[in-house]
């Protein structure tokens, strides 16, 4: 018996620390979600993520109607998978948050390297802030501390919520925070209080630097990888005196947002630029060279597959982008046709 294929939208968020992929159905429900480490290899992370997705959905037939890419590797990802929409992560996160909680007024988003604050009113983004100058690196820092203390990062939050009186940690900069933490340990303060103190310091830093001058109004959504940490959620609630909601799929919100943006394109079946899940088997070569067209001597990145240049980018003037990839990310590897995740029992 032939069951009609479900309509699906693929969203991919490739950040510095994590790579997330989701497949949404036509009502924006999550059919499958993948959260994995980028490990400095965005192409590999995307390819393996796609492979994992096909495994997760092995018993279903899904027709991909649209693909969105976001995150710091969004352009690269867009070219590899053939994305229909390539969007910055700030917009993607805002879109996802307002889909999950339509009346959300504030989004706190903390990822591996970046922290964001997004202010929405009536479903429209009215203001945002992203950490600048200093790469706060909250997620990476918590990771590092959990490794140093020998506590699995998953358990970090539970330690924090057990604390009765958080230690005061100097939190202006993670370098100071770490040395202060070590000092507090050396004088005998229990690890629970130190960990919760650290959460307080990070929240204080976020509110004093990033959120300064912005109005934080309830309902507040807290998302990004760090939202998994119950200690951070509790510290935010303490500091703001507002209840903070952590959505179920808090760690893949960027991917959800980009899938929703792809959905909003309302493409007809087969109209997507998606290169099919087979891209996970292709071998991509990337190289760089310096353009000598003018005195800027920009560094240009070139990406090739099967010896054929797929795209080039990185210049200030857009010269290389224009020559062979109009609308970066729209390039197809092969002519369209329906792309489906086939039932593959192995």
């Amino acid at each position: 018996m032939d069951i009609p294929a479900k309509t699906g939208y693929l969203g991919i968020d490739v950040g510095s620390v994590s790579t997330n992929l989701v497949i949404l159905d036509e009502h924006a429900n999550v059919l499958a979600a993948i959260y994995r480490r980028t490990q400095g290899q965005p192409i590999k992370a995307v390819q393996e993520g796609l492979r994992e997705l096909t495994d997760l959905l092995a018993d279903q037939e899904i027709e991909v109607r649209g693909v969105g890419a976001t995150g710091s590797a969004r352009h690269l990802t867009g070219i590899i998978v053939g994305a229909d929409v390539v969007k910055n992560e700030i917009t993607a996160h805002a879109v996802a948050a307002s889909q999950v909680l339509p009346d959300v007024n504030t989004v706190l988003e903390i990822g591996g390297q970046d922290s964001k604050l997004i202010v929405l009113r009536d479903g429209i983004v009215t203001d945002f802030a992203m950490n600048s100058v200093c790469a706060a690196g909250t997620g990476s820092f918590l990771d590092h501390q959990s490794a140093r203390l020998g506590i699995p990062i998953e358990d970090f939050g539970t330690y924090a919520v057990r604390s009765e009186s958080p230690a005061h940690i100097a939190g202006r900069c993670s370098v100071f925070a770490e040395s202060d933490m070590i000092h507090k340990q050396q004088v005998g303060i229990v690890v629970e209080d130190i960990i919760y103190g650290l959460c307080h310091a990070l929240v204080r830093n976020y509110l004093n630097n990033l959120a300064k001058g912005k109005e934080i109004k309830s309902p507040v959504v807290f998302q990004g990888g760090v939202a998994a940490n119950a200690g951070m959620k509790r510290a935010f609630e303490d500091a703001l005196e507002i209840e903070v909601t952590v959505p179920v799929h808090h760690n893949v919100m960027g991917a959800i947002g980009s899938a929703i943006l792809a959905m909003e394109l309302e493409l007809e079946p087969g109209e997507t630029s998606f290169n099919s899940f087979d891209v996970s088997d292709l071998v991509y070569e990337t190289s760089t060279f310096n353009c000598n067209g003018c005195s800027n001597t920009c560094e240009i990145v070139r990406i090739k597959v099967d010896g054929k240049t797929l795209a080039r980018w990185g210049g200030r003037c857009g010269k290389w982008e224009n020559e062979d990839s109009p609308g970066a990310g729209k390039k197809r590897l092969r002519a369209g046709g329906k792309t489906r995740i086939k039932a593959s029992v192995r």
Partner: protein, 366 residues
Amino acid sequence: MKVTCPHMGHLHWMLDDLFGRLGVEYVKPPPTTTKTLTIGAKHSPEFACLPLKINIGNFIQGLDMGADTLIMAGGHGPCRFGYYGIVEERILRDLGYDFRFMMLEPFGDGKWAFYKTFETLSPGSLSLRKLWKILKVSFTKGRAFDQIHKRTLQVRAYEVNHGDTTRALREAEKMLTQAFTTEEIEEAGREALALIDNVEQDPERRVLKVGIVGEFFLLLEPFSNFGLEEALGHMGVYIERSVWVTDWIAPGRDNKIYGFHKDIVDGKAAPYLNHNVGGEGRETIGSIVLMAERKFDGIIQLLPFGCMPENIATSIIPKVQRDHDIPVLTLAFDEQTGRAGVITRVEAFLDLLSARRGLSLVGTNA
């Protein structure tokens, strides 16, 4: 005598003309690039602002090309800029360079001191009257350059073929460079503007209207802001900018290129900031109000990291933003700033502006 001077946007077009008329050999430093900044940052105090680091890089490259006389603008007031000439001279001497250093103090500080600087450059036949005449012609040329650049920022948003406006601008610049007398300059200026206006445009395109305000060096020197204006133009954004080089150096309070008299700008800033805080701090606030009243979609403020006057403005902006219901994006730059981060924030900002206008987020920028 070989004179060099730091770059600032298209100031060099005017200097080329001016030094030519004075009969002074002008060593134009190579265009500012990452290399310039690397050299400059290496020899500058870490907490000095980006313009100083770029100046040092320009000077060193100019000196290495054989320049023996350096000219740097002076100034006074709360901004560190007035002090930079002195610091720069010291840094360069400590590096072992031998040169003559000249601080060009603002015209308003006294005609005589101003004239003396030029007299030293071009000894003998230069009378105050003659200098005045020369300055006037060169200045007319500078203003014509400002005018064509201003037009470019508006036309680029509507261009049909990617890059046409920039190509027209290059042609226009060439045309103006060759003009010599005041009449020729005015004529070339008109033709140059026509050249840019003739770029094939799509008048139906729905474009965002964004104002750029902030510290003058960051606004004037495209290298320092990653060519933000051109990038915005290619994303289909109509741009107006609050600071122009000829407005900035012109005596008097009339902003011919920006179009608003300084008193009007200061008046608009007055409810928030009613005194000079140095640099463009007050102008930034006044311009935001003016642009909000003129129904711009949003404002981008550019500043060097650590810039005191602009930081004062930044702390006032949230209130201006609320009162006038206009989104403002603040971007701070130093030698550590990466282009990707800037573009991400700018794209998100344009999405925000599109959403406010009820335009679809899908399709904008990317």
